[in-house]
Amino acid sequence: MSGSLVVVAKNSAEHKRWKYVQWAYLAGFLLLTPLVLEPFEIGKMNRALIMGVAILAVNLVVGFNGMLALGHSAFMGIGAFVTASMVQDENWDYWQVLPVVLIVGFLMGVIIGLPALRVKGLYLALVTIAQAAVFPTLVNIDELGIAARTGGPNGKGVSEEVIAPSYLEWLPGVDGARGGSAYRFWIIVLMVGITMLLITNYLRSRPGRAVLAIRDNEAGAAVYGVNLPIAKTMNFAISAALGSLAGLMWCLDKGFVAGQDFTFLLAIDLIIGLVLGGVGTLQGGLVGGLFVVWVNDLTKRISVPLGLYTLNGDGPLAKAIFGLILILFTFFAPGGIVSLWRLISTKLIHVVPLTPSGTPIEPLEGFDPGMESNRADTAMKMSIAGPVLLGVGWLLMNVNSLIVGVLAFGLRMTILLAPVAMLVGTNELKAHAEGNRPDSVKGPATMARNLGALGFLFVIGYALQRFILTY
């Protein structure tokens, strides 16, 4: 298969249809998570999203500004402790603490970032790694009332529980036993959504563009009038504020914060999540957060007997697996999961950008393989493979093995590609009607369209069924 299966012009009807499918998947994921998962699994999702925000914060510095920041665990810790202290000791509401946390995080970012970012090189890495190491010891200091505020080595609990007010009980999943974590899930999703929106806009703004310019060519950016230390420090401070926000969310979700939660190991988890997700991509943080939390969960369940020795994931070796993943990704997939996904999706669909006058920059016909097209065959195979793999995955689900379980889950997910088969089938039929394809294309194209549509209907139906059953 060469080229893409589907070629669409940006903002054309087909492109919009494709986008609707993506939004539908996202909505389905969000709506089903609090309904289908067990409360402790929703808790993991919450943690993944919180990690996602923190990784996005790291990404602002590492991915978008090209500086190395290894100490965001400390900013998370600061946000978490400020929140815990204000909510528990001063009886503030979480939303009242929010601006305080952002400002404190921002100021800490300026204090740490300014000295390190005046000079080029790895100095930010140096400062931030020390920052990550120092933070857990600082919360234990008895003087200045620090330990009283932070709870010292015992940690600090927040007794006020986050419960949905009665007018929000209609939210999916928010009722009865699982209400708590599901309600927190919705709060966190809302905060993540707003954050993503704000950061997207920030990167498109003037200061945001300056930050990107510095990453690509520092001296060049300076020549065009970017004040390097200021731009870098502001970006780092915004990132620190975002890290503190993740800390607030942490406290909100767990209701308990302790110094040993915010060690250098958390900072490394953030870096691993960043690399796994994709350095320099906005979605990378969320993807990375999901993977760090769930891979950690999976490795803990690994237990491989090797003769006398049992390889046990529920011990020190869990960290080694993470280290190995980090090195393997750095070698073989430096762009992370997001770039791998982009690689696959460009095989599936190619969006041709428009010129300012609204015509595609390259005529779509240029991508058309004409009479030689084998797109219909590929689409047909895809439309058949989806249901078959779904069935295989279903059968494998009953095998009581961790690796097989993960594999089964992955196989079942292939059905999500059904709309692609449907789209390609429709396109090929249209091309055939225009006399642009041989007649032999008609059979597979029709099959791909119909089977793909069935698969897609099945996905929608299944999701609706799960939704209605539990809601």
Partner: protein, 316 residues
Amino acid sequence: MTWNFDILPDFIFNGLSLGAIYGTVALALVLIFKATTLINFATGELAMLGAFLVYVLHMEQGIWLWLSMLIAMGLSAGLGVLIERTLTRPFDPADHLPVVLITLGLFLIINAVAGDIWNYQVRILSNPFGKFPSWVPSVGGDRFIMVFGSRLKYQSLGIWVTLAVALFVLGLILNRTKAGLAFRAVSSNVDSARLVGVHTGRTLGFGWAIASAFGTLGAVLVAPQLGGVNPNMMATILIYALAGAALGGLDSLGGAVLGGIMVGLIQAVAVTWGGVVVFGQLYMSILQLAAAFLVILIVLLFRPSGMFGTRRVERV
């Protein structure tokens, strides 16, 4: 507030010997930084692994301590060469992120594997400078001599002498051997080094080897102060060493040693002794790590190139 100067020499001696160890580890950092402008975050874990090798060779196999140390230094040097060859050489040295990620990954793997093999309990490792050897005439006790009315531990003396000898050997290697000359050339200008026929890869491997050996030396010397060896032993030492390297200048070998010693003194004298003087208690020691952090911040604020580092000019 009473200025208790009687106990000051104790703290100075302690600071100087801790500082010498930080200097040794800082040297391991700077050797790699000088050649590649990279900070090897796995330095501490490689050193810890070296200390465990000594533990296995000496405590478990009963090999003479100093011979075990030499073997362990040789083995960690080999490991350093291996890491350079397989994990860092494929990457463009101008792009810092991948190699830093690799060293972070190594940090996790080495720490976890050591934790899996030896678990996280502290294991006693013999002190190379526990008691004076019998041929030394007794001047005070069998573990210390009296200087300025304070006890100067044999351990401190031993650490200083060891570091001095190691530095002398390092100086000989760098200034009197062809490999050392090549290493200095690669550190100074990689392209030109290649143009005079230096194999830059092998030379960087040589740098990793010396750095790993020095890290191991530092870890073995610090073990008695920590009560023994354990997989997390180097976590804080690495931060002190980073502070020392920053203070001395990240590209100055002599600066690394002096910077490390100064961080040791700051830790022992300014924070601990100062804390005793001001508050009459030892609890300020909780701030020792924070002091290292402050040192890094202050150095960057006032003299980013450190005390002895060179100012690099970036060309467009």
